[in-house]
């Protein structure tokens, strides 16, 4: 059942084209029921009944240790509920937001596949199976970012996201395989139980950095962050779903999932803290420079992803708890804000924050949702984001590798969070009414119901944190190796912790943020003027490596695949010559060749005739003459066969040679005169090359024949052909009995050639398939 629930998205994707036959509206509603029912299934079957740690396993590729092992633990459940919950909002929202779009059906196919793959990532216990789902999310993300595929920018961004996350995924696969080499295990549950073996291995650091390569690209950590803001080219529901609530958190998911195996290693904690911290600060700063609502949200998402990475890096149980709470809070408020941004875009026709303001009067319901989400983002009491921020501060104040620097960074990022919340969700709705074109309109019920629910959930979880408290505590023990029981039982979430340092810091953040917002006009004017030098941006590195890749592909094509058959063959012959003569002269003793072989006069005559006819073909200037000489060569090759005990070959060769000559004569009246196209120097060059290869072949034959011939096979066929194959002609028995399948293949080749000949002859002069 768990397996079925994971894969149901893919099943639905296959059914979408048929559902759309019943009309777009009913189809979209039916499809939107899928994430909803999955959400309810996970909630009631695992969440409320506490049926956690449930697993299903199907043998898939046991020889390699790759099996379909699915586990639903508390940690996976948090993700599964976010994926299906936000998914429900997004699916319903899209049915209205993209109602007029001609490719609505494709959209649902892509996004259903995405949902299934995302569920697959978080429930797979087997790392290779998880990797497959991981790749599927990259591919569906590519299709969704490039959804408006007629726009160049969309295509560019889609490529960028695919290439960055795809190359990261390759690193991840290598990391998984290294972990397999170290431990011999393929399942997270097994790997996580042996941190000692892993961390003492010499392959530990390579494995860790390769896994991080996958996680960092997926979760857009510096310096791989640039694809995420560009991914905002996707339709807004996609940005809400993939690029803030779920897919970009796959990297976070993986880091925490594999944390027990790496936990305690100083390299693991240092790397995560540094990269997380830098991403967090850089993204917060970049967010302030944007005017596009979606890009602001994208950069604040980046900042949060940095925060989550940093929290895993701090690595205490409290930090893990903070990470999970922050993650849930973020999924709720950021999902809401993206959908709100889409509603604003839909209602006003713009996403530029400088052009809009006071929309509260026109979009009252949306304004309420946005305000709640913004308060959660800013960490205002009593929203869930407030609890998240408190835990974040507490975790950052704990003793850690970087001391108070960590806290300073976290504080700055949180402050930026307050400012960004104001920019993206408060000012568009309050203050003086401002809109670019016609009067804005409120979103429809199908659109706003989703984000209103997510916004209110942020409030509900804030007021009643015990709803999630228990499960979060259990999830911490899922991602923390050997969690002390005392710690796990003391983990409860509460809105009010009394008057303490953390509360004071939270209030200070808010106050400072409000002050900054009051002076925002001046501040933004300054910040927008400061530009990092372009060559410092990692995206330049991406562009550069892409153009190098394309240039080198062009160069290779130009050199190796230049369209001149002669050059290809020359290259092949030179390679053949070098490799064959190298091994001939290095590994074998040429002196074994005996030059004494008995020869009779008629053999010399046969050899002479073949040689002379060959020269005639090459030198001849007449077509008929050449064909005739070629026939002579073939006939005398057949004579050789017949002298040396191969009557079947001789007979076949005679008839084939006759047929070939007839075929040539039939088409010969169409043939052009023999032309000498090549230059003399080319001809000489080719002649020397061909002679060198010919000579090598002669030496090769003499080398081989100078050695003893093994006789086992000959004896085997000699003994068994009659007794087993009931035939006295051994060659025939081999062809129709021992190697009958080869002969069947030969017949197929011949029939295909015949078909090809027939098709070519039927082809009219102007039939050009490609026009």
């Amino acid at each position: 059942m768990l397996l079925f629930s994971v894969l149901s998205g893919i099943i639905v994707a296959c059914l979408v084209p048929f559902l759309f036959k019943f009309g777009r509206k009913p189809a979209s509603i039916i499809i939107s029921m899928v994430p909803l029912s999955l959400f309810l299934y996970y909630l009631f079957n695992f969440g409320i009944t506490d049926n956690l740690g449930y697993s299903e396993s199907i043998e898939f590729f046991p020889a390699l240790g790759v099996n379909l092992n699915f586990v639903m633990d508390s940690y996976a459940l948090i993700f599964a509920l976010i994926i299906t919950g936000i998914g429900t909002a997004v699916f319903f929202y899209s049915s209205y937001y993209l109602a007029e779009h001609p490719y609505l059906d494709r959209f649902y196919i892509y996004i259903s596949i995405f949902m299934a793959s995302m569920l697959g990532i978080v429930t797979s216990d087997n790392m290779v199976i998880m990797f497959i789902f991981w790749e599927l999310t990259s591919i569906s993300s590519f299709l969704l970012i490039g959804f408006k595929h007629r726009e160049e920018k969309s295509r560019y961004s889609a490529w960028q996201a695919l290439l960055v996350t795809g190359s990261g995924a390759l690193a991840l696969l290598a990391g998984i395989l290294l972990l397999y080499v170290i431990t011999g295990k393929m399942n997270f549950s097994e790997i996580n139980a042996m941190p000692g073996i892993i961390q003492s291995s010499t392959l530990f650091l390579p494995a860790m950095f390769l896994v991080l390569g996958g996680a960092f690209t997926k979760s857009a950590q510096m310096p791989f962050h640039f694809w995420l803001p560009n991914a905002m080219e996707a339709p807004t529901p996609v940005s809400a779903y993939l690029h803030s609530a779920t897919m970009v958190k796959a990297g976070i998911y993986l880091m925490a999932r594999i944390n027990p195996a790496f936990q305690g290693a100083i390299e693991w904690e240092t790397t995560l803290t540094i990269f997380g911290g830098i991403t967090m600060l850089f993204a917060a700063y970049m967010a302030l420079k944007q005017t596009d609502l979606k890009r602001i949200l994208a950069y604040t998402t980046l900042s949060v992803l940095g925060t989550l990475t940093l929290l895993i890096g701090i690595g205490t149980p409290l930090a893990m708890q903070a990470m999970l709470v922050y993650l849930i809070a973020h999924a709720l408020y950021k999902g809401t804000l993206f959908l709100v941004a889409g509603a604003i875009d839909h209602g006003t026709g713009t996403r530029n924050i400088d052009e809009i303001g006071g929309l509260r009067k026109f979009m009252p319901i949306t304004a309420v949702a946005a305000t709640l989400a913004a308060f959660s983002m800013a960490g205002v009491l009593p929203l869930f984001g407030f609890i998240g921020k408190e835990l974040l501060y507490e975790a950052a104040l704990q003793p850690n590798l970087f001391g108070y620097t960590t806290f300073a960074i976290v504080f700055l990022a949180a402050l930026f969070g307050v400012v960004a919340a104001g920019m993206s969700a408060i000012f568009p709705f309050f203050g003086q009414a401002k809109y670019p074109n016609s009067k804005p309109h409120e979103a429809s019920f199908t659109m706003y119901s989703g984000y209103v629910i997510t916004a209110f959930l942020g409030l509900l979880f804030g007021l009643l944190p015990m709803i999630v408290s228990d499960n979060v505590a259990k999830a911490v023990s899922d991602i923390y190796y050997n969690l002390p029981v005392a710690v796990s039982s003391s983990m409860y979430l509460a809105l009010w912790h009394g008057f303490n340092l953390v509360l004071f810091l939270s209030l200070a953040t808010l106050a400072l943020g409000i002050v900054i917002l009051m002076f925002r006009k001046k501040l933004f004017a300054i910040i927008r003027k400061i530009n990092l030098p372009e060559y410092l941006l990692p995206s330049k590195g991406y562009d550069m490596s892409i153009s190098i890749l394309i240039a080198s592909a062009r160069l290779t094509t130009k050199v190796l695949q230049n369209g001149y058959l002669r050059n290809y063959i020359t290259l092949i012959l030179i390679t053949l010559l070098i490799l064959t003569s190298y091994s001939l002269f290095t590994f074998s003793d040429l002196s074994v060749i005996s030059l004494y072989h008995p020869v009779t006069i008629y053999e010399i005559i046969i050899a002479a005739i073949i040689t002379i006819s060959t020269i005639l073909v090459v030198k001849s200037s007449g077509r008929l003459q050449a064909v005739a000489a070629l026939g002579v060569v073939g006939i005398f090759v057949a004579v050789v066969f017949s002298i040396y005990g191969a009557p079947d070959l001789a007979m076949t060769q005679y008839s084939i040679e006759t047929l070939t000559v007839i075929l040539f004569v039939l088409v010969i009246y169409k043939l052009p005169k023999f032309m000498h196209y090549s230059k003399f120097s080319h001809r000489m060059q080719d002649f020397f090359l061909a002679s060198a290869v010919g000579l090598t072949m002669t030496i090769l034959i003499l080398m081989v024949t100078a050695n003893e011939m093994p006789t086992e096979f000959k004896e085997y066929y000699g003994k068994t052909s009659y007794l087993l194959g009931k035939g006295r002609n051994i060659v025939n028995v081999i062809l129709v009995d021992y190697r009958a399948l080869d002969t069947l293949g030969e017949i197929v080749v011949l029939s295909l050639a015949a078909l090809g000949v027939f098709a070519l002859l039927k082809l009219k002069k102007d039939d050009r398939g490609f026009e």
Partner: protein, 117 residues
Amino acid sequence: MTLLLAIVTGILFTAGFYLVLRRSLVKVIFGLMFLGHAANLLIFNIGRLTKGAPAFILEGNQTAVEPYAEPIPQALILTAIVIGFGVQAFAIVLFKKAYQMIGSDDINSLKSTDRIA
């Protein structure tokens, strides 16, 4: 004869490779045919020459009695001859069509799939 046949095979290879390096399509096809003969003779020769003793099990015997020719290279060559003919037939007809369409048998004018003006 082994030596002589080896030399003849070398000459056939030389001719075949020389011809497939030409620009005239007809010559390339001739070259392919030479390469076919050369490869067959190479296999035949490497399987050792046995004069006048086909790989037959004579009437009245249950098994073959030495001397008799090595049957495996023969079976391989037999297949090769027939397939070689299929390739030749296809190449000849393809060549004829190509020549009809573009009016040239210069391979260098076949570089591109775009319509030739």
